[in-house]
Symmetry: C2
Subunit: 321 residues, 2 copies
């Protein structure tokens, strides 16, 4: 990401990295190795960043209260990445081989479970309310995986169902992190709700942008091939828009429905999608979510942390990776 949103919490994010590294140490070095393979592959750390910024934005002062919590959200995120790659057959992740390709399905599955547990171990003892935030987000994640599975290669999926999927897949966990951070930071219920609303919209903006990058992003910057969503049959917003009323809607739907797609077919679909209005429409929606996120910050007092949250909301839609 080009805009540096994280500078105001640089030190806290370093502490989160240390906490994460400490927590994945295991008697079975292979578990540590698989964990670190995923964790150290240059994720954007948006989840722990939002936890800390929300904590700071409501006046939370003792950083030691929030580091474990921020690490918990990143660990659980890493767990879901490993399991998602197993489920999607995703071969590349952030420019590296995905965990199951490098270490095998069995070991990757266990490493994912291990990271889930470590996440709950770090986040759990803080407060019963925090456990509920974490667990609700994880429940929504599992539910959205099932919903997404039901709409695999489905050209008839509605935008409503799509939004429900990405809400559960991405936005709810970021919302939970913001709420937990603000709550632990001593925020009022209004502040907790505001920061939650910010983060929910941030997550939606982030995921829609992810969908766009799968179509028009640069493979070198993304660290993975383009068109993976289309190949896997995962519905994305530009695709749904193009299948609804683009000029090439029939051809795109036909290609999307196919169980086995050749790489020529994927390239053709990406070409048709890129030249449609769908990418631009999706980008408009992503920017709407980003603006809504910023609006939700109104009840939060001005601070460098609030500025960082705003910068982040802009950065997630303007990023190229």
């Amino acid at each position: 990401m080009s805009i540096r949103w994280e500078s105001s919490i640089h030190r806290e994010l370093e502490m989160v990295e240390e906490e994460i590294r400490r927590s994945v140490v295991s008697q079975q070095e292979l578990l540590t190795e698989i964990s670190m393979h995923v964790i150290s592959s240059g994720g954007k750390r948006i989840r722990p960043g939002v936890v800390i910024l929300a904590f700071r934005a409501v006046g939370g002062s003792d950083a030691s209260k929030v580091i474990g919590l921020a690490a918990a959200f990143e660990l659980i995120h890493s767990a879901t990445l490993i399991h998602d790659d197993i489920n999607d057959g995703g071969k590349m992740r952030r420019g590296k081989e995905s965990a199951f390709r490098k270490f095998g399905v069995q070991r990757a599955l266990v490493a994912g479970d291990f990271l889930f547990v470590k996440g709950f171990q770090l986040g759990g003892p803080q407060n019963p309310r925090v456990v509920d935030y974490l667990a609700d987000a994880c429940t929504r994640l599992a539910e959205s995986e099932i919903l997404q599975g039901r709409h695999l290669r489905d050209p008839g999926i509605s935008i409503e169902d799509y939004l429900k999927i990405i809400e559960g897949k991405t936005a709810r966990a970021i919302e939970a992190g913001a709420k937990a951070g603000a709550f632990i930071g001593g925020g009022t219920s209004e502040q907790v709700e505001s920061l939650g609303g910010y983060a929910l919209n941030l997550g939606m903006a982030f995921q829609v942008t992810d969908d766009i990058l799968d179509i028009i992003g640069s493979e070198a910057t993304l660290g993975k091939p383009k068109g993976m969503d289309f190949l896997d049959g995962t519905p994305t917003l530009p695709l749904i828009l193009a299948m609804n009323d683009g000029v090439d809607r029939r051809r795109i739907s036909t290609l999307f429905r196919k169980k086995k797609k050749t790489s020529a077919e994927v390239r053709e679909a990406l070409r048709l999608l890129a030249r449609s209005d769908a990418v631009e429409s999706a980008r408009t929606l992503a920017r709407d979510f980003s603006e809504k996120a910023i609006q939700r910050l109104e009840p939060v007092a001005a601070s460098p942390y609030k500025d960082s949250l705003k910068t982040l909301a802009k950065a997630v839609v303007e990023r190229d990776s």
Copy 2:
């Protein structure tokens, strides 16, 4: 199991069933269906039973404090069964198709994650110490899966490594449940340790007996084919003993090492194992663990719950399924 160990806590176990059923309700009915497929398939409920008995044995009186905790241990156990079956390719489980065979790997994997989360959601808010018990047990579980993977089809595995595997795979989670139950029930540290020691030995006795049943059990009673451990290359105690000094040790080792085993080869191995002394030696060890478990109960005052714990320790080694 023929001996009824659970009669003293019949009502509590019914409440646990209700709690479990309530907690797996999801907007995505498929998640509930997969969860219930595993949960309602007649498990022995040893884990929640031990949690409740430990709670009662130290004088815990308000059952509502322990029901969620007991359910948490069963939910996490169910999660690991689903993931284990994916990893082992286990086709049958308690006389039913395993979850991944019936619902597919992707959905089963997600359902396992869902059950993990529900377990932590129920067990987490009780007390930070309980989260640690739960998480430590889950960590040991993941570690023992990796250790077991390293000794797949390994005729040279030591008894020490085997004991380490089953300790992590089975015994530590039962120990954690007993400690958590005793702790929440207001037990002294001595009582918590005693009941933990009981449960650790109970778990070892249980797992060694499981190993024996895979060789000489009745398929109708087990609800799955015999010889699955041998076929999968999972080291079991009778097998290790037979490979160490039985008369047929060379032939058994050769068969065990094979990556693809025919069903004739599995039958041959079971025949050789059944006629060796190894099964009897393993049974002796299982009974030793069972006796050690009962000895550890000494500091616990006499009560119907203590009696149930004793009965359970005897039942796990004398069971035929």
